[in-house]
């Protein structure tokens, strides 16, 4: 079983922080525009809810990535890839190489700074079947992609 690169924690933290910031801004706008009118009025001052949300977000994004990292494992075998992840619901996924339709390597801006990338395996399955392996060094991800390229599905569905 391989572990992900440890720097992936920083990326997850940044992602969660951005997400929480985004939602708190939306909440702030709603708060400012609608929640202090003559019809609706809440007992907090404008911005308090957003502040609480950001506080929760900071704690969440510091704690969750560490735990998630602890449980994230993957294994590259001769004929298949096996992933294991999940904090509350633990999931173990098997992707046979022969079922992979195509492979992507993606990088976001933050990931590019740290030289990491995500490997995305697309299968023909219809229920959440695009499998993402985050936090792989870009060289490793590209190497993996190239080595898998030849053994993926050559049969159309």
């Amino acid at each position: 079983m391989y572990k992900l690169d440890t720097t992936v924690k920083i990326i997850w933290t940044a992602n969660y922080l951005m997400k929480f910031l985004y939602y708190s801004i939306i909440v702030l706008i709603i708060d400012f525009l609608f929640l202090h009118s003559t019809y609706v009025s809440i007992p907090f001052k404008t911005g308090i809810i957003s502040l609480i949300l950001i506080c929760i977000g900071i704690i969440f994004s510091l704690v969750v990535p560490t735990i998630a990292f602890k449980y994230w494992e993957f294994e590259v075998k001769d004929n298949e890839i096996i992933l294991q992840y999940g904090i509350i619901n633990r999931i173990k996924t098997l992707i046979p190489y022969s079922k992979i339709q195509h492979i992507d390597v993606q990088q976001s801006i933050i990931e590019r700074i740290y030289g990491l990338s995500r490997l995305i395996l697309y299968t023909a399955g219809t229920k959440g079947a695009d499998i993402v392996i985050p936090g792989l060094p870009i060289e490793y991800a590209e190497q993996l992609r190239d080595s898998l390229k030849d053994i993926t599905a050559n049969e159309s569905l």
């Binding site: 004929n79 298949e80 509350i88 619901n89 633990r90 999931i91 173990k92 996924t93 098997l94 992707i95 046979p96 022969s98 079922k99 299968t123 023909a124 399955g125 219809t126 229920k127 959440g128 079947a129 499998i131 159309s156 569905l157």
Partner: protein, 504 residues
């Protein structure tokens, strides 16, 4: 094939002129509705609406229909089908003859009256590459179909000379020997009677309310109510409940009758035909349907039944397919209604599956989990009832009922894995046996939720390329160890199959 016919299609051709009339009728339901209300209600104000609708049709719809007709051209050569259309932006679609998987000829009631046919040319690719000729005359449709098949068989011969293994498409004639399953009219009526679809209950309600508007009897009922308005207030609860109950029974009866008629219309002369590499389903009285299912696209097979059908010993066979062609439905009834032996026979002819008599049961702890799951759904209602101290007995009875439901859920669930094929049995009111072949499985997952982990359970999730999520592919709440074993077993089987495939 007649040389003249070949020549007519090798030049650019327009659709049949009657298409104009057909499109006009199809595009003007608004006119019909406003005309209806204008005449029926004898209201002068309504006539303005009719005039406006007429003007809209004259200015917008008519030229659109005409231009669309004039700019639509098609041509069939011995290598490809070319379709040009588009009023403002030109589109030129080119379909190589060899890529054509299937030609569907369909007719609805109106088209039948006008002697027109809709030709759908399906390819193996996505929806973008389909061609629809709407509409050509029936004779033309048949010659198009035979012409394409002829061209295909010509190029097929060439291809076969090149490489012998090509088994893409072979021209076959549908002879009667290939019929896998047929339904007599009596069987179709029986099928309709046993169906009970909830959707038709809504239609029943709608019709019931409409009948009340138009029915003469309604006046009597109204006047009766008006005369006895004082007496009604004195009626006891039981009578009122009985009145409501009788109305409900009437609605159910109406919807049941409509369901039967509707089913008879859709499944009239139902035929399941087995051709090389594909299944063809034909049926329909007013709207003729012709569905082709390539074997390759079938992802799962399901034997379905509801408690009523099961009591009478009737089952259905459903095929779940991957997305292809113009159909996005993803499931087809291959056998609507038949005895179990007949269905086994059909399955045996399609694929060599042997349905097991006994299934492995899932963990008994599942009952507890299902009960808690159901109960949490009703917690808000229970809370209100208990808070106001209304009918606590009912809550208790309901909980017992829920536990029984959870027990049934456990009892009806089962799985069996044998010889590359996984059989899943589940369902309380609608029962299904879902059959999945290992080489159709794309991704396998073991999921342990927080609560499952505490009980040492896990669910095995199998993902296929079937479009609908209608057929479950989850083995719920089995022992963690069993789940892991199945996980490894399926993995091994997939790998063995790959190796066989590679050796070939």
């Amino acid at each position: 094939m007649n040389q003249d016919i070949l020549n007519t299609f090798s030049h650019e051709k327009n659709l049949h002129p009657l298409t104009l009339l057909y499109n006009l009728i199809i595009n003007s339901p608004a006119l019909v509705i406003s005309l209806y209300y204008g005449i029926y209600q004898k209201n002068i104000g309504e006539w303005i609406n009719v005039i406006i609708t007429m003007l809209v049709i004259a200015i917008v719809i008519l030229p659109a229909i005409l231009l669309k007709y004039l700019f639509f051209k098609y041509k069939i050569t011995n290598t490809e089908i070319i379709i040009t259309n588009g009023i403002l932006s030109k589109k030129n679609r080119l379909i190589p003859i060899t890529k054509v998987q299937n030609i569907n000829l369909t007719q609805n009631f109106l088209q039948k009256m006008l002697g027109l046919t809709k030709v759908q040319i399906e390819t193996a690719g996505d929806i973008q590459s389909e061609a629809i000729l709407e509409l050509v005359s029936s004779e033309e449709a048949h010659s198009i179909s035979t012409l394409i098949k002829l061209y295909q068989s010509n190029s097929e011969i060439k291809q076969e000379q090149n490489h012998l293994q090509n088994d893409n498409y072979l021209l076959t004639t549908s002879s009667n020997d290939n019929i896998l399953f047929e339904m007599s009219f009596k069987e179709i009526l029986l099928f309709g009677a046993l169906r009970f679809r909830p959707l038709f209950l809504i239609i029943g309600f709608w019709i019931y309310s409409n009948i009340q508007q138009f029915y003469e009897l309604n006046n009597y009922v109204n006047s009766f109510f008006e005369q006895n308005i004082n007496n009604i207030a004195t009626l006891d609860n039981l009578t009122l409940v009985l009145l409501a109950f009788s109305a409900l029974i009437t609605i159910i009866f109406i919807s049941w009758l409509i369901d039967i008629v509707w089913t008879a219309n859709t499944y009239y002369k139902f035929k399941l035909i087995n051709e090389k590499n594909k299944l063809i389903i034909q049926s329909g009285l007013l709207n003729k349907q012709n569905t082709t299912i390539p074997f390759k696209k079938v992802q799962q097979i399901s034997i379905i039944s509801n408690i009523l059908k099961e009591r009478f010993g009737y089952y259905g066979l459903k095929l779940y397919t991957a997305g292809y062609g113009i159909k996005l439905k993803g499931s087809d009834l291959a056998v609507p209604n038949a005895k179990l032996e007949v269905i086994y026979e059909v399955i045996d002819k399609i694929k060599n599956y042997r349905i097991p008599n006994e299934f492995t049961q899932i963990s008994k702890k599942s009952i507890r989990r299902a009960f808690v799951r159901y109960a949490t759904l009703f917690v808000p209602i229970f809370a209100i009832i208990i808070y106001y101290e209304l009918f606590i007995i009912i809550v208790l009875l309901f909980l017992i009922f829920l536990y029984y439901f959870a027990y049934l859920d456990w009892k009806n669930r089962g799985f069996y894995f044998d010889n590359n094929i996984l059989y899943l049995k589940y369902g309380i009111l609608i029962k299904k046996i879902n059959i999945i072949s290992v080489n159709k499985i794309q991704v396998v997952k073991i999921r342990e939720t927080f609560f499952q982990r505490r009980l040492g359970l896990a669910s095995l999730i199998l993902d296929t390329a079937a479009v609908t999520s209608e057929a479950e592919t989850i083995i719920r709440d089995i022992d963690k160890r069993v789940a892991q074993e199945l996980f490894n077993l399926i993995n091994d089987k997939i790998n063995i199959n790959i190796n066989i495939y590679k050796k070939d």
